[in-house]
């Protein structure tokens, strides 16, 4: 919630025609800038953002710091590319624009998108940086596009001259499949200094991850949107893996099989810890898991010594953890068993739904639904053969 006035310096030089950041470097910048404006305004409604272009005929201020997002959007539209980027004057003019901001209580920040080669000497950049530091202006640098010899070093030197107490940051974005704005979302450019704007950033991250098709998540289900389903899927996966391990161990030696179950739970805990996304809903579940970690260690120790009592302790651990969604977990287990043969690269949720036993077990738990009802049977049949018309009907019926 830092009150901030930000000036964004856009690189609209000839180098921005390149398409290595889709659809073009300039468009990628425009998208990133729109997201940044949204993030800043959401963090604090009194924040203001302004835009200037660094190349073209000369440095030109398109919008002075304003909280009106529409104005920023409008001026990003129809930008022309040409010329060379003049980073030194751009930063100085940005500083001047910030100096004349309406609300003097706002902190000053400049965000520079450095996509083309930097033709200035390191010394010049350092003196500019010192001047910014003296007037307590923070600077964020996005290094993308052209990878010049010495460009990263020059920008790092500029950053260290400006940096006061870690309020300034630099991000190097190489060309790749991910869009520029997606990469920036997880950086301090968006999230501020660890606070503020993080709500927006998390929501944006979730949206982009879902758009990518769940490639960022293990089971194609976003923990932000549906934490219980994600958790249940993860739990069942672990149980299945553990059972397979136990079966393998049992084949090797008799006693090791009983230690398999408690160890599977500890694996689950570690996996939960590792896959901990920065979402609040997920945190709740992991906290529950971690609290039982101590009990788990006892169980493990006991199981190593006395297999009989260890087994029972491990069993109680299992039941405690899954008591909340025990039915769901069992149901998923069944479905996992059936589809264990085909290693499902397709982790689509609809695929799981197609499994009739799973669906019927879900329907049993729903109040007021009789699995033998003809309309429900029709629904099940239609889910097996997904067609647009049929899907609309059952979905309406469901609601």
């Amino acid at each position: 919630m830092v009150l901030e006035a930000t000036m964004i310096c856009v690189d609209n030089s000839e180098w921005m025609r390149n398409g290595d950041y889709s659809p073009s470097r300039l468009q990628a910048q425009a998208d990133a800038i729109n997201l940044i404006c949204g993030a800043k305004t959401q963090a604090n409604p009194e924040n203001t953002v302004g835009v200037l272009t660094m190349a073209g005929k000369g440095v030109r201020v398109l919008a002075t710091p304003t909280s009106d997002l529409g104005r920023i959007l409008a001026c990003m539209h129809g930008l022309e590319m040409g010329g060379e980027m003049n980073i030194a004057s751009a930063i100085q003019i940005a500083q001047l624009a910030l100096k004349h901001r309406q609300n003097k209580n706002q902190q000053q920040r400049i965000i520079v998108f450095a996509g083309s080669p930097v033709k200035f000497e390191k010394k010049v950049l350092e003196s500019i940086g010192k001047k910014l530091k003296k007037n307590s202006v923070a600077l964020d640098i996005v290094d993308f596009g052209e990878e010049d010899d010495g460009k990263p070093e020059k920008l790092e030197a500029l950053l260290s001259a400006v940096n006061n107490n870690d309020s300034s940051h630099i991000v190097h974005v190489p060309a790749g499949p991910n869009a520029l704005s997606d990469v920036l979302i997880s950086t301090p450019v968006f999230t501020g200094d660890g606070e503020g704007g993080s709500g927006f950033a998390v929501a944006a991250a979730a949206a982009t991850a879902a758009a990518i098709g769940g490639s960022g998540y293990d089971f194609g289900v976003d923990p932000n949107i549906d934490p219980e389903l994600a958790l249940a899927l993860r739990v069942s996966m672990e149980e299945e893996r553990a059972r397979q391990e136990a079966a393998a161990k049992r084949a090797a030696e008799e006693a090791g099989g009983k230690g398999g179950e408690p160890s599977s739970k500890s694996e689950d805990v570690t996996m939960t810890d590792q896959a901990n996304v920065s979402s609040k809903e997920d945190k709740k579940h992991t906290d529950d898991m971690v609290e039982e970690n101590d009990l788990l260690k006892e169980a493990l120790a006991m199981s190593m010594n006395i297999s009989g009592t260890g087994h029972s302790a491990g069993d109680t651990e299992m039941s405690e953890a899954t008591s909340a969604d025990q039915e769901l977990a069992l149901a998923l287990q069944m479905s996992m068993q059936e589809s264990a043969g085909e290693p499902s690269s397709q982790t689509d949720v609809s695929k799981v739904l197609e499994d009739q036993s799973f669906v019927s077990s879900i329907l049993e738990s729903l109040p007021g639904v009789d699995p033998n009802d003809p309309s429900v049977k029709d629904l099940l049949a239609s889910l097996k053969n997904p067609s647009e018309k049929d899907k609309e009907e059952p979905s309406n019926e469901d609601k």
């Binding site: 100096k99 003097k104 530091k133 003296k134 007037n135 006061n164 107490n165």
Partner: protein
Amino acid sequence: MACLHDHSCEDHDCSSGWTLYEHIDLPKVSALNEAVPGSVKSVFKAWEQRLNSSGLKFKRLLIEIQFRNKKAHWSYFLLQGHLESNEGDPELLVYIPFTSDVKIKSISVVGGVDGTSPSKMRAFINKEGIDFSDAQGMQAVQEWDLVENFQGTLEYQTRYSKFQNVASITLHFPNSFGGDTTKIEYIGFKGEATKLKRDVVATIVYELRPNPSDHKTKAEGGGLSHVE
């Protein structure tokens, strides 16, 4: 213009006059070109502590401020009890708002040793958001040539008529006595505080269209109101 204390301080209480530090709005004090952000707050203390640079008195306050900003360097403040400018640049600008309007009679500044004391002081009154280019260009309300004053016994008198309704004062120290940085241990103000508060107009209601019901006068109650 400076007065020198050439009597022993046991005769009368020297610290009685230097009470304006209580009226400083400490959370809003800021400085430009300070090496450690926030260290400027340690410079305003009671006259008795002016030579005490450990800053322990302000421990709780400084931790509270830094904790709210979630910065992890609040332990630094336990040791850093003075204001220092950045390496190689002895210029300093200190903005001091008061909680109520004050009249300032004189100012005392204790600098650092080895040439790090400030050599000149320029004051601006009731101007917010001054930065270095503004300070260098503007005419100051008053300027003083300072001398090295390690004991804090020197005070610099003000032209009292100009310092009557001070809501905030900005002190600009352009140079030091040859040192690489400028260090300030203590800044004290002598004067008196009024209970008045100089405030900008906080809430203004604008009318887009006049509404007669908002403008009823007592004489025109009941019956048709006639708007002219």
